[in-house]
């Protein structure tokens, strides 16, 4: 899994970010460490269904995309 997908990853820009645990700067697309936990993203939500690459549906009625952060979504339900 990539840092980009981790709960402890904080973006600073589209290439990199900071690990919220140790505050080190890490590349978004590098492999994550042992502390990895899934970030709250649409792709991990039971309301999300993939339709094609990088696209899907939310609750069968809204367009959505799998990589979207859903930490502020009240309808998020982990699979």
């Amino acid at each position: 899994m990539k840092h980009f997908d981790c709960k402890y990853y904080m973006n600073t820009d589209v290439f990199k970010g900071i690990c919220k645990r140790d505050k080190n700067i890490i590349n978004a697309d590098d492999e994550s460490c042992n502390h990895f936990e899934n970030a709250q993203k649409c792709k991990h939500c039971s309301n999300f269904k993939s339709t094609q690459a990088d696209l899907g549906m939310c609750m069968n009625k809204y367009d959505a995309y799998p990589e979207m952060l859903a930490v502020t979504c009240n309808d998020y339900k982990p699979r």
Partner: protein, 895 residues
Amino acid sequence: MKKENDLECTTEIYNYYGAKPEGGFLSREEKKSATPRVEKARQMYFDTKSSASVEFPYWYTRRWEELEGEVQIIRRAEALKSGFEHLTPAILPGELLAMRKANYLRGSYPMPWMSEGFFLSKEDDLFKEVQNAGKASADEVTTMGQGGGNVTKSVGSVISIAGKFGLRKEEMPILIKVAKKWFNKSVDDIGHKYEQLVPGYGTKEEIMRAVICMFDSGYTLPQGREVMNYYYPLQFGIEGIKDICKEKQASVAGVPGMDRLYFYKSVHTMLEGLQAWILNYAKEAKFMASLEENAKQKDEYLEIAERLEWLSKNRPRTFHDALQLLWIFHVAVLNEDPISGLSPGRVGQVLYPFWKQDMDKGVLTEEKTIELLECMRMKFTELDCFASMGVVGGVLSGNTFNNLCVGGLDKDGNSAANELEMLILESAMSCDVPQPTLSLLYDEKLPEEFLIKGVECTKIGTGYPAWVNNRVAMEFLLNNFKKEGMALEEARAWAIGGCLETSPGSWMPLEVNGETYYIPGGSAPATSVGVHFISLPKVLEAVLYDGLDKRTGRRVYPAHGSKLESYNDIWNVFKHYFSITVEVLTLTNNIQHDIWGKISPSIINSMLKPDCLEVGKDISNKGCRYNRTFNVEICGGVNLVNSLASIKKNVFEEKNFSLAELKAAIDANFGYLSALETGSYSLIEQVKTANYTDWLKIHKQCLDAPKYGNDDKYVDDLFKEWQIWFSKMCENYISLYNEPMYSCQISVSTHAPMGAVTLATADGRLCGTTFADGSVSAYPGSDKNGPYALFNSATCYDHSLSQNSQLNMKIHPSVVKGREGSRKFLEMIKAYLRKGAFHAQFNVVDSRMLKDAQKNPENYRGLMVRVAGFTQYWVELGKQIQDEVIARTEYEQIG
């Protein structure tokens, strides 16, 4: 081809139009460092790329679609609310002020409800349709800076947009999908549909295609170039404003004039969205604290959480609270629309009551204040505005023009400078980052110590503060806003909106600890809306070529048919073409702004601006106290006047050559390659063709013609005639808000792309090179008689006729060194402003350093220069502007 021996003049004709800077250079004066916390933040900023996300537009669009059929302003408020409450929070270690535009450090996002064509796939038929409308011409001739935080190329998982913004590739499909939902529904598309009903619309399209006008107004940057007003949140807090809305709602429900009801409801809704956004950050701060092992950092996270929870409902208790709340509302407005030039205004006077209270209580120190102000500077510097390449590169140069003003007068006419403003200047020296840029509102009543502090800040090379004449601005405001009730007292509340737009303000009664302080704040909508940047040399080119754009061969204006047998013939046709341009652009942009107000009105900024909340009207319904803010902007005025002087003297008075011969020389670019071929955009580095000697004599005569900036009455009279005519003619055109327009004279960065599309000019400038910057800056290298001659030329007309004037000067660091240098520098500035000038700004830099920075950008990540109303990192400027800044005359004497 003529042989050099047969020539009647030397072949070395450029040595006096700017010498190539060579050899070693003198560095700027040493400056203090930022606090360690902020220095760390600055280094992180330097390593961070501009990044775009889809989060906000996704949630905005999703909610918008759900509410089809709802009252438009309510629908808009709900969409904004959804955007805010779904923004992912991010708080970096060391931050004392939390919250951002988006979840990236330099984050921004597209706003397809304004204009969606830019985001459509290039292969898409819809995209091609957008391109055919001629709106992309400015994008094609703009160069972006190749360094710093710009994402200039697509790499790996990141797609470059507009040569500046990076977008994760997995977000592109949803962005296109969201953008398509706005096709034929965005402000751009709907405005376009109706602007075609304006008589002469075809001419407007050709004007845009020829880049005679840089860009449209209503859907690009519909807000900005204005001054924020933080009074309501500081006085009442968010819950307090919600209470006002509820009371007002009850008083107007069912009463004729029902738009007021919907406005109050929309403000209430939007504030709920802001509360959710703030509380999401508070929650994130607690989460960060839970992971933190460092006790001090943990406490700071918890303090952020407590502060945000408090401010989500209440008015601020302390200076720190007030600064945080100011920042929250500043970002909230920026997230409402694509905006440049949202100036915080006179922050040192607005926050003074809280600062004084804390200092009196002993809970705040000057050192802590500076640290907080430095943190604020980093926050403003992180701001990016997502827009097309033509707008973000060709106009903004990647900057967002948040101008903070110091000085000026208080409500009673006394100096308004205070101790907090001294610390603002201090923090701007220790934390020398581009934003907020500073303007010092110069008045004879300001204390000398304050002015010296301003000079010390200017001379370390920050480019700020710009020096602005308080009295000239007040005169301009009283002339233009009297009809709307402005009196002398209120004229004193003004500030600079954007890079240099004089903006009306008002005094509002802030109560702190039982005392009432009248704080200044913006009380008018956006300015620099209306007619954006008309290229004067390009209009003159059309005059010489009977209405054609020679670059593309397309007809822009109706053929004038005049043989142009006298100077007056040329001047009259120029005025005719210019008037056609202003008329059609006024009408079409009025429609765009009307559509903006109808489908995407401002809610957050409207709530903040007196007297919208009082009267229940948003900005687009003239809810503001002052509404005469539409203007006509121009670019390239000095090249126009120098060209007119050359034509008048060479063609009609001394008959050195005919107009036909001049046009042939222009067609041949005086025997040089164009700047677009050489990639060099100033006169100091151009490449001759084999037959350049055929044109040498005529070129030299053009270069030798009288030049503005030398106290030469011949050309200064032409300049004055242009200025008076221009300012007067603007009043013939009526804005959307049913008020006459006024003139605005700033170039921002438009002198680069507009120069790029313009043939050689009769003043000897070569094809594609950048125009003179600002409005009263001399053409680089052409001012040879010292600064005071330049000042005489610049003040040959009344500056209060116009919203602004803009003078850039480049001063060698050796001239202003030490305390004595500061005094000499201040005396020079005073001398200029006392002549009735409106504005001056300075680059204190050795041109050889800039040349070295162009060759070795990796060594100059932190180097800043003043462009035209703003300071920017050298590495983030396009080469067109870099070359122009290098070529500017460098003054080595100012006494």
